[in-house]
Structure formats: structure tokens, C-alpha cells
């Protein structure tokens, strides 16, 4: 493990944040974190201090509530980190746009599509959708299509019956 990544792991474990280590070759990221909305800003500050940049902010409408997904990565080393935060009962979550300026438009976009309120966001007006469609929330699923949070996390692909040659090498 890269020394800077080790530093990141110790810094996070000092804040008693649980890191689930993943197989990068399989999933495309190294760590997976579930966090309470209350600790989000503290976590983002920590990420900034560890010189991680914000890749994107996105949303996912799953059964209990909307999950906001953040991905952080580093320019200096191969280290990607996925953070999932569940919004509270008012569909609200604290903003990190004052910590990462790049989150500003991502959060506006997420508000467009899911109606999530980012608390203390400086300018939470529609970015991508037309101004008159403030309350459209087009990516919210209807009750037939919605799935459990666990069901969409990571689905391990079942071993397919392979050809004989492949089976031999296995």
C-alpha cells in the first residue's frame, strides 16, 4: 500500500470510520464507506487534508431513502474511495460545496434529479433542467421499480459454465 494511502487509512480510523476494503481489479475502487449525514462535512474536510479530489456527486433512489454517492480519488497514487450517505427524513443532507468547490454544480444537478436539499448550499437553483421544472425530480423511481439498497450495491456475477479449456485452467 502506498504510504500516503496508509496515512489516509490511519486518519480515517482515528475518526472511527469503517473502511471496507474492496478488490480494485473487480470493482474499480479501493475503499467503500457508509457514513451518517452528520459526519459528512468532517469526512470531506479530512479528504481535502489528505489531498484527495472529488470525482463526482450522484444520487441513487433505493428503498429506504435516497443515497448520495461521492467518489474521491488521488492524482498522486492509485486510490479511489466511494462514500455512500443516506439522506435524512426531510430529503436533506449537508453541502460540501464550501469544502470542495467542484461539488457545487454536482449538488445542484442532484437536486434537479432527486429533489435532495443540500443544506447551506449557496445557490441551489436548477442547473440542468429548465427553470420552470423546479419540482420535476425525473430520476425518482416509482414504487414498482424501486429496489432494496442492498440489492443494488454490488452483485457478484455467478460463475458461468465455461468451455472445457477454461475449466481446465481453473
Amino acid at each position: 500500500m502506498h504510504p500516503a494511502t496508509e496515512k489516509l487509512v490511519t486518519a480515517l480510523s482515528e475518526q472511527s470510520i469503517v473502511l471496507n476494503e474492496c478488490d480494485y481489479a473487480e470493482r474499480g475502487y479501493h475503499f467503500e464507506i457508509d457514513l451518517d449525514a452528520g459526519r459528512l462535512r468532517e469526512f470531506a474536510q479530512c479528504m481535502l487534508e489528505q489531498e484527495m479530489y472529488l470525482v463526482f456527486v450522484g444520487g441513487l433512489h433505493v428503498d429506504p431513502a435516497i443515497e448520495i454517492i461521492y467518489q474521491f480519488a488521488s492524482y498522486d497514487r492509485l486510490c479511489r474511495l466511494v462514500l455512500r450517505v443516506v439522506v435524512d427524513s426531510n430529503n436533506a443532507i449537508p453541502t460540501i460545496s464550501d469544502i470542495y468547490q467542484g461539488a457545487n454544480w454536482h449538488e445542484r444537478e442532484t437536486r434537479d434529479f432527486y429533489g435532495v436539499i443540500f443544506i447551506d448550499h449557496p445557490n441551489l437553483v436548477p442547473l440542468i433542467l429548465a427553470e420552470e421544472d423546479v419540482d420535476l425530480k425525473p430520476l425518482l423511481k416509482n414504487s414498482d421499480n424501486i429496489k432494496e439498497s442492498a440489492a443494488v450495491r454490488w452483485v457478484t456475477v455467478e460463475e458461468q459454465p465455461e468451455t472445457d479449456e477454461k475449466a481446465d485452467t481453473d
Binding site: I128, A130, E131, L136, P138
Partner: protein, 199 residues
């Protein structure tokens, strides 16, 4: 420009009109006033229509991937200038043909309507590609931001289907429009490809 001025950058002034047209499903009456020409004469009209048909000036206006085919039509291989339409104008004031080349989404629709308004009369519209005709692949139940057919916003003269149409398809559309304007297909005949000298 202060913050109050910037606050005016809210909803486009055509947003309400856009909603009405979408609800109606047709463009409706767009004209504020039309006193007609000062002098009208049948022979003069025929001459002018022949001239208009042979010098259609399209607007430089691409909305999606169909615009690539439109550009291709303007270049040497397909050469729209054989039919007098090569002068793509950057301003609606100077153009009389709007080729709606691509997907019109809700945010762009107000701008399309404004641009159509700003073109001087007489003006024509070609809806190019399936998106501009009917929404194409976006005409599904979950669609929330694509206008399903530009003919709900502005009157369309010629529809050119395809996804995207070949440049020859658009060329045929322009020829059809010329036929519609002047009453004659191909008013000034072109030389056939087989007669062209080989270089």
C-alpha cells in the same frame, strides 16, 4: 451588472408560451401583426418565389448529431451550394431557412422559438432527423425533457426522417422545399452525375 440584474436571468420569457404550445400540440398563431406587402402582384410573386427557392439561406444552427450530416452537406462532397443554399448565416436576421438538426429539449425550446420569431418572413423550417420529427428514441414514457416533435413549437414545412438522415436525404428535403416554394421541382436543372467530366 449588479446582482439584481442577474436575478432577472430566471425563467425564459417564452416558458409559459412553450407550455401552452406543448399542451395544445401545435404551434398556433405566432404572428403579432401582418399587414402584408405594400405592393403585391402575381407575376412579381412568382419571380420572387423562384429567386427565394434558389437562394435559401439556412441558419447555422445544429442541436445534436444531425448537425454533423448538415455540415457534411455544406462541404465539397455533397455540396449544397449547387442548389444555392451554401450561405449558412450566423444570425436569424439574415436567414430564411431553419434546419432543426437534432434533439430539441425543453431548455432549448424557448431559444428555438425565439430564433424562429427573429427570422424575417418569408421563412421555412425543415425538421431533420427523428428527434426533431417526433422525439425519436426519446419518445418514451420516462421522457422528461425532450420535445416530441418540433412541430409542436414552430410550423414545419418539410420532414426529413432518419437517425440521422444521410446528407442526400437532407438535400432531397431542400429540393422538396424548393418545390414547395416555387411550384417547380429543381427550378434550375443541374447536370447529371453521368454527364459530369471526369477529372
Amino acid at each position: 451588472m449588479g446582482d439584481q440584474e442577474r436575478g432577472k436571468l430566471g425563467v425564459h420569457s417564452y416558458a409559459a408560451e412553450l407550455q401552452e404550445r406543448l399542451k395544445r400540440g401545435e404551434p398556433g398563431n405566432l404572428v403579432v401583426r401582418d399587414p402584408g406587402p405594400l405592393f403585391q402582384n402575381k407575376i412579381a410573386d412568382e419571380i420572387f418565389n423562384l429567386c427565394r427557392a434558389n437562394s435559401l439561406w439556412p441558419m447555422t444552427f445544429g442541436l445534436a448529431c444531425c448537425a454533423i450530416e448538415m455540415m457534411s452537406l455544406g462541404m465539397a462532397r455533397f455540396d449544397i451550394s449547387r442548389f444555392g443554399s451554401e450561405v449558412f448565416r450566423p444570425s436569424p436576421r439574415q436567414s430564411d431557412l431553419m434546419i432543426v438538426a437534432g434533439t430539441v429539449n425543453k431548455k432549448m425550446a424557448s431559444a428555438v422559438m425565439t430564433l424562429y420569431d427573429q427570422m424575417p418572413s418569408p421563412k421555412w423550417v425543415i425538421a431533420m432527423g427523428n428527434c426533431a420529427i417526433s422525439g425519436g428514441p426519446f419518445a418514451v414514457e420516462e421522457n422528461y425533457n425532450v420535445i416530441e416533435g418540433v412541430d409542436k413549437l414552430i410550423p414545419v414545412d418539410v420532414y426529413v426522417p432518419g437517425c440521422p438522415p444521410r446528407p442526400e436525404g437532407l438535400l432531397e428535403g431542400i429540393l422538396k422545399l424548393q418545390e414547395k416554394i416555387s411550384g417547380v421541382r429543381h427550378p434550375f436543372p443541374q447536370r447529371k452525375m453521368s454527364d459530369a467530366p471526369s477529372y
